[in-house]
């Protein structure tokens, strides 16, 4: 293959994803084109004059821009961004960058991706996290602080991991890393093969030997967030869409859409069905996307589902695979293996188990494992992309350089995962603690007259507070959320942030609490009822 680096003076640099080179030329012509596409030459004629005026206005503003600096005059406002080719879709946040500069000297503007964070008023999800972190509850030092029930992290078994680290971490672990640096001088960005093997062993152990995870099908990343984004970048172009069953985790709005320019089409699930996913609703959402002219590239699910917390049944997974095969879509499944275990009522079924069967094309299924939750040490940041699709693996491997796990963490994890005795004990103990906390919390809510979805998995509880909101609408729900934050001094996640179509549901993450804090939490919740 001829090397791709012609003398750049003669060849303009190539553009990448999407025909982005073209639209800049069209910047001045679009209004006309838009009208023409609207159909009918009469419409065209009737609209040419205002468009021509617009055209000349743009030229005027451009030439004014070019005539050097006039520090006393604010620069002309930025013209609206043209939507990327491929559809009239636009997330509310991304289009506009009309900008009023601070001060007399204009500021160099940031991109629409940059400004969307600032322009879009913070959602309750973000606001709540912020308030809780600024004024965190502490039993002794800040008893009036905000209790954090909005962060989906498991600290229940942190002490086990910390104890292990205290005993097993030696200077040699770290220095070994420096030595290795000296010899090989090349780090695979998608994780050391020793770690992949250790991860494979760990995951098998958690799944009680039901699945073998092939290390050569793994890409390791610094967490689930980059893993999701990487897969989205690999599977979809700007303007494409993914179907996502709702309610879904608020983080997905960022992970799937923000930098990729990809859309989410929610597939609403209802309490009447226990929020289960049906092929009917998938089809409905798919057709809706089609009507909007959006190309759907796949479905993104989580198991246990977040925020509801239920496990997807084997039948649901099979139906999903049938649907994906029929429409030729990808499936991205985020799984937390800590959800696995000997639950008599319902067993956790991993996608990895299902795609073993011959019927389905393995190349369309990609699984993400969030090991940070399994390992119960916030801050470890380990995600695994698991796929049999070689093209995806190759592309992800190259993308992994932007989100690599530090060698320190890798070395620590290798030792920890290889200590199968510790792992076994940890899995058992952690499971017990999560179950216990869950039943205490759910029980506490029940005593207050609050019903929650039955689930013994996940580190959160999905509770129905619709009886306590007035009016029965998103507005009522957000008012209750505010009361939670300001009166009860706790941060919880309202269902609307999770795109739940039924108002009144709230997610409470309880694995950041200790047992003796539960009575206090229940007391505070009572204040807002």
């Amino acid at each position: 293959m001829k090397p791709n680096f012609q003398n750049s003076a003669n060849n303009p640099p190539e553009t990448t994803a999407g025909s982005t080179g073209i639209f800049t030329d069209m910047r001045v012509i679009v209004p006309l084109q838009g009208v023409v596409q609207g159909g009918g030459s009469g419409v065209v004629l009737g609209s040419i004059i205002p468009c021509a005026l617009f055209y000349f206005l743009q030229l005027y503003l451009k030439s004014k821009n070019r005539t050097g600096d006039d520090p006393s005059a604010p620069p002309p406002p930025q013209l609206p961004e043209i939507s990327p080719p491929g559809g009239e879709l636009q997330r509310a946040q991304s289009v506009r960058s009309i900008w009023s500069p601070r001060g007399a000297n204009g500021q160099a503007q940031v991109s629409s991706r940059g400004s969307s964070v600032i322009k879009h008023p913070d959602s309750p999800y973000h606001l709540g996290l912020k308030r809780a972190s600024e004024n965190p509850y502490d039993e002794s030092r800040n008893p009036d602080g905000i209790i954090q029930l909005g962060l989906d992290e498991n600290k229940l078994s942190m002490d086990l991991v910390q104890d292990w680290l205290m005993v097993h971490t030696k200077c040699s672990t770290i220095c070994q890393e420096l030595q290795i640096n000296g010899i090989t001088a090349y780090h695979p960005f998608d994780g050391l093969s020793e770690l992949k093997m250790a991860v494979s062993g760990f995951m098998s152990q958690v799944m009680e030997g039901r699945v073998f995870f092939d290390p050569s099908h793994m890409i390791l990343t610094s967490g689930v967030t980059p893993a999701i984004e990487m897969l989205v970048f690999c599977l979809a172009d700007v303007g494409n869409a993914f179907l996502v069953p709702s309610p879904y985790s608020p983080d997905l709005d960022r992970d799937i859409k923000w930098r990729t320019g990809v859309e989410i089409i929610p597939v609403p699930c209802r309490s009447s069905d226990n929020f289960s996913l049906s092929t009917t609703s998938l089809n409905r959402a798919y057709n809706k996307a089609k009507k909007r002219g959006l190309k759907v590239q796949g479905v993104i699910i989580s198991n246990p589902s977040n925020p509801v917390g239920n496990l997807l049944s084997q039948e649901t997974l099979y139906n999903l695979l049938d649907f994906a095969t029929e429409k030729n879509l990808h499936i991205i499944a985020t799984e937390i293996l800590a959800g696995a275990g000997d639950d008599k009522n319902q067993e956790f079924v991993s996608m990895a188990e299902i795609i073993d069967s011959e019927e389905y094309d393995r190349k369309r299924v990609h699984i993400i494992y969030g090991l940070s939750k399994d390992v119960s040490l916030p801050g470890f940041r380990v995600g695994v992309i698991y796929s049999s699709n070689q093209n995806i693996l190759q592309a992800s491997k190259k993308l992994a350089r932007f989100s690599s796990i530090s060698s320190v963490s890798q070395r620590l994890l290798i030792s920890m995962f290889n200590d199968s005795r510790f792992v076994g004990e940890f899995i058992r103990t952690n499971r017990e603690r999560v179950e216990r906390m869950s039943s205490l919390f759910v029980g506490g809510l029940k005593n207050l007259g609050i019903k929650s979805m039955k689930s013994s998995r996940g580190s959160y509880c999905w509770a129905d507070m619709s009886g306590f909101i007035r009016p029965y609408s998103e507005k009522g729900e957000l008012e209750l959320w505010e009361k939670f934050l300001n009166v009860a001094k706790m941060n919880v996640t309202p269902g609307s942030c999770c795109h739940c179509i039924e108002p009144g549901w709230f997610r409470f993450c309880f694995t950041g609490l200790t047992e003796n804090q539960i009575p206090l939490v229940m007391e505070r919740i009572q204040k807002v009822l």
Partner: protein, 437 residues
């Protein structure tokens, strides 16, 4: 049941299929040759010597010594598990103590000539991620960043691949030692505008990769004036700042801004990393330092995609804040790099090869243009291939760095022992002698 149609597998995105990752370029092809036949003093003395990897291994003994002597074993586990600090850990904000440590270290590297506010530090998993992140924030798909040539080949991927942003080169020439001139800046800007491409900023690397030279203060001032005039951003990638041989020869953009009382500083952003100066590429520690509040806020949120593990932060926080250690390390590191540089320059000179006068970095910019058959890229690649296969050295051709003049090569000298460097030099000597005959 639908008829089974044998189809190509489910579709992938344009990004997944694009070549913009650049891993098929000669820059990376050389690595493959090395991987297949790596030099080893004892086991494979005729193997390929890796001189295409800009890594710093000359000072890791200092790190090892510090780690071993300053932290008792019981303390290790505590440090790493973040026993006391975990309660305060806040996700993408990063550990306060670590951000303070980074700010302190960055100040030390600049000899205290600039101050850094820990609140403006955003942590990323390496400079690669920092550069990509800034590009996402500062430019829209289709926009361009102006980058002086020759530049680090990885930029083609880091700045363009997922972001959809373009690079428009600022051409620099050997006639003035590849320094950036106001004329070249204007020419690049006009060229972009003539193609109807919106320019959002200038990205410089200071000290420069692959030149191995610092940018002079006067030039920094000119660049700053230019970006202010055009109302665009300036990104200064200063990952080699601790690798300048003479502390006073490196001027950071931070110093220039400070001397201007931070006027117009909101368009400036600095990228830093521990990979080169501290020789810790595996730790994946990078940072975006921005003088623009909005960029800091956005970058912080965006850093969720590229977080540094808390264990790494815990581990490095105390080391980087230890001024006695960092001062000593920086000083000795500079001296050792300087020594290596002189060794390679003199060795090459003896072989009749000239290099650009450099004063920083982990590499030198070697001029083989007198030895090209013709002053073309093809000849450059021909000689590069010969050097790779016959002389068995992996060096980086200037064309991969988009150099406008053929015949220049980047040769790394800090990722090997002195003995290996001697072997490499003798091989070059032999090669040139043979070629002259």
């Amino acid at each position: 049941m639908a008829i089974e149609i044998v189809q190509p597998s489910v579709e992938l995105s344009k990004i997944a299929l694009s070549e913009t990752h650049g891993e098929d370029s000669p820059y990376f092809a050389g690595w493959k040759a090395y991987d297949e036949n790596p030099y080893h003093e004892l086991h494979n003395p005729s193997g390929v010597i890796q001189m295409g990897l800009a890594e710093n291994q000359v000072s890791f003994d200092l790190l090892e010594e510090y780690l071993e002597s300053n932290l008792e074993s019981s303390n290790w586990g505590q440090k790493v598990s973040g026993f006391r600090e975990n309660a305060l850990f806040q996700d993408y904000h990063g550990l306060v103590s670590f951000r303070k440590a980074m700010a302190s270290f960055m100040e030390e590297v600049r000899g205290g000539k600039a101050k850094f506010n820990p609140e403006r530090i955003v942590l990323t998993a390496g400079a690669t991620a920092a550069n990509e992140l800034l590009t996402f924030i500062l430019a829209n798909p289709g926009d361009a960043l102006l980058v002086p040539t020759p530049y680090y080949p990885g930029f083609d991927r880091d700045l363009r691949w997922r972001t959809g942003v373009q690079i428009v080169p600022i051409h620099c020439e050997s006639s003035n030692n590849f320094q950036i001139t106001p004329e070249a800046l204007e020419a690049a800007y006009d060229h972009a505008r003539s193609m109807n491409i919106k320019v959002k900023g200038v990205l410089i690397t200071n000290p420069s990769n692959p030149l191995g030279a610092t940018i002079q203060r006067k030039v920094l001032e000119e660049i700053l004036d230019f970006v202010t005039r055009k109302n665009i951003h300036l990104v200064s990638d200063e990952i080699y700042s601790g690798s300048a041989f003479y502390a006073d020869e490196f001027v950071s953009i931070a110093e220039v801004l400070e001397s201007r009382n931070y006027k117009d500083s909101e368009r400036c952003h600095i990228v830093y990393s521990l990979s080169k100066d501290l020789g810790l590429p595996g730790f994946r520690v990078g940072t975006v330092y921005s003088y623009n509040d909005q960029v800091v806020t956005t970058a912080r949120r965006m850093s969720s995609f590229t977080l540094i593990s808390s264990q790494t932060q815990f581990l490095l926080a105390s080391m980087l804040s230890d001024k006695e250690f960092t001062r000593k390390y920086i000083k000795i590191n500079r001296e050792r790099l300087k020594k290596r540089y002189e060794m390679i320059i003199n060795g090459l000179k003896k072989a009749g090869i000239e290099c650009l006068k450099g004063n920083a970095g982990l590499f030198c910019w070697m001029n083989l243009s007198p030895y090209l058959e013709e002053p073309t890229i093809e000849s450059e690649l021909a000689i590069w291939k010969t050097i790779m296969h016959e002389v068995r050295l992996n060096i980086s051709p200037g064309s991969s760095c988009h150099c406008s003049e053929p015949g220049w090569f980047r040769v790394c000298f800090a990722n090997m022992s002195e003995e290996t460097l001697e072997v490499a030099l003798s091989r070059i000597h032999e090669f040139i002698t043979t070629r002259k005959q």
